[in-house]
């Protein structure tokens, strides 16, 4: 028998090139607003550190460092790693510990510091998340995996690149209104469509950023929630999925099989359907990933995701607002922080506290976070419900 679990508070560091901070200070910046709301260290039973890639910093034993820095050295802690889904994997692990009764209140901290190395080195380190025997020797970088999906998608559905650029324009439109975003500026469709190539068919504006940052949430068991907030966000559905390691082994490159499985499981657990979802945070590590996410999540039929883009249904006042915080593209993608940041954004949208009214979605009852790792090997999908 499990207990219901809610997200009761959240905090978010400024994303960007944070040469002024290490992962310690970033985590403090994310936890401080939670502390200021009254969830002090003594109220927290244990913590999970979402920290995907120690290769960027050289810092081992990250969860010990961070727990100590935040005054939590006497509380149990652990680190979770599953590439870009580390944030929601951490939340999933913490949910299990609270739902089972092991702990009542847990802090989930996501952090990554990626700009301690050059872009070429960062690209190298992320390429090493491909199969080291069969993919790495051919220089298949992280964007290259998604470019392989994009080439196939563009072929099968006759998709012009401009549709992908329209997604980038939307991301930057909202990132420009998010004070936490790494690259908060608007881009024109022409600029996005004609940008310098990175991994053709993907160009600079199809790719997410190499970002430093942190985000934090606190979750609590149902019988403790009232101590912390009158506005809890219940974890209503969780779905996790996986896909083949090597991209050539996928039955389809126009969908992420693990994401479809995860979505099905999350909707089932929540007792909801795609049409019930009021907003989504999707894993737009590349523009093609956002387009595919619309279809994997059931917001559009296969091959029809472009209609959501072309009709601007993905804007904050549209049918299914997606990534109106700027997404990984403009807000940034500090690997371990990303899934926690998605959760934070949904909490704020539900509470009506998106920092700028021009990106505040009306009346969010159900929000969905779609977090994908590497090129789809890991997927976590969370469905959250407003609890007031």
């Amino acid at each position: 028998m499990t207990r219901r679990v809610a997200v009761v508070a959240g905090g978010h560091a400024k994303f960007g090139k944070r040469y002024d901070a290490t992962m310690r200070e970033l985590c403090a910046e994310a936890y401080k607003p939670i502390y200021d709301e009254g969830i002090t260290q003594d109220k927290i039973d244990a913590s999970v550190l979402s920290y995907a890639a120690s290769q960027f910093t050289g810092q081992g034993a990250g969860s010990a460092l961070i727990a100590d820095y935040l005054g939590l050295a006497d509380k149990p802690h652990l680190r979770v790693e599953s590439a870009c889904t580390t944030g929601t994997a951490s939340l999933r692990a913490a949910w299990g510990m609270v739902a089972s009764g092991l702990y009542d209140v847990m802090l989930v901290l996501g952090v990554e510091q990626m700009n301690r190395v050059s872009s070429a080195r960062a690209t190298e380190l992320m390429a090493q998340a491909g199969d080291m025997r069969w993919e790495y020797p051919f220089g298949i970088s992280f964007p290259a995996f998604y470019a392989l999906m994009a080439s196939r998608y563009m072929h099968e559905y006759n998709l012009p690149h401009e549709v992908l650029s329209m997604i980038a324009v939307k991301s930057h439109h909202y990132g420009a209104q998010n004070p936490k975003a790494h690259l908060p500026r608007e881009v024109s469709l022409e600029e996005a469509n004609n940008a310098v190539p990175i991994c053709r068919p993907l160009n600079l504006y199809d790719c997410s950023l190499i970002t430093d940052g942190a985000a934090a949430v606190v979750i609590a068991a149902e019988d403790r929630v009232k101590e912390f907030t009158d506005e809890p966000m219940w974890i209503k559905g969780i779905g996790a999925g996986a896909s083949e390691m090597m991209i050539q082994d996928r039955s389809s490159l126009t969908s992420i099989p693990g994401a479809k499985r995860a979505a099905k499981a999350a909707y089932k657990m929540a007792g909801l359907e795609p049409k019930d979802i009021d907003m989504a945070e999707v894993h737009d590590c590349f523009t093609i990933a956002e387009l595919i996410a619309y279809e994997d999540l059931g917001f559009a039929e296969p091959g029809k995701g472009r209609e959501i883009v072309e009709n601007k249904e993905n804007y904050h006042d549209g049918r299914i607002p997606v990534n109106v915080d700027g997404g990984l593209k403009s807000k940034g993608h500090p690997l371990g922080a990303t899934g926690v940041s998605m959760t934070y954004e949904i909490l704020n949208q539900m509470r009506g506290t998106a920092q700028n009214p021009s990106r505040q979605i009306d009346d969010v009852q159900y929000g969905l976070a779609h977090n994908v790792g590497q090129s789809g090997q890991f997927v976590n999908i969370f469905i959250f419900e407003r609890g007031w």
């Binding site: 070429a120 690209t123 190298e124 051919f138 220089g139 970088s141 999906m149 080439s151 072929h155 991994c199």
Partner: protein
Amino acid sequence: MSEKELYLGYATDKVVTPFFRKFLEALEQEKLMKSVCPNCGTEFLPPRQHCQKCLSETELKEFTEREAKLYSYVIVDFPPESLASRAPYVVAIGEFPSGLRLTAHITNLTSMPEVGMPLKLAFDRVDEKKITYKWLV
């Protein structure tokens, strides 16, 4: 007795197990090896030492198909550090008539690749320690 170093592709993962070494030595003879499970008959390309279905030790057998079709591609303009000197390069997934697929560079393109175009498997010595299979159009 030390055997000469031998690696696959352009960036090198220097972990070469006895199974992988056999694959590389065959590749030097311009033979591409698949693996076949003696227990359940499943075939793998590229090969894997253990069958994905029944975990039996597989056997290396020569893979003889040479003609494939381009399933998908990427032109890598901004490479990982280890392949900086080769960029831009084209990575292609080719699909053989049997349905098996292989990922390698296309090295002789003179125009933009197109999904569905015919590819031909070939072999190449990259340098004295590295060998590879590749696609030609």
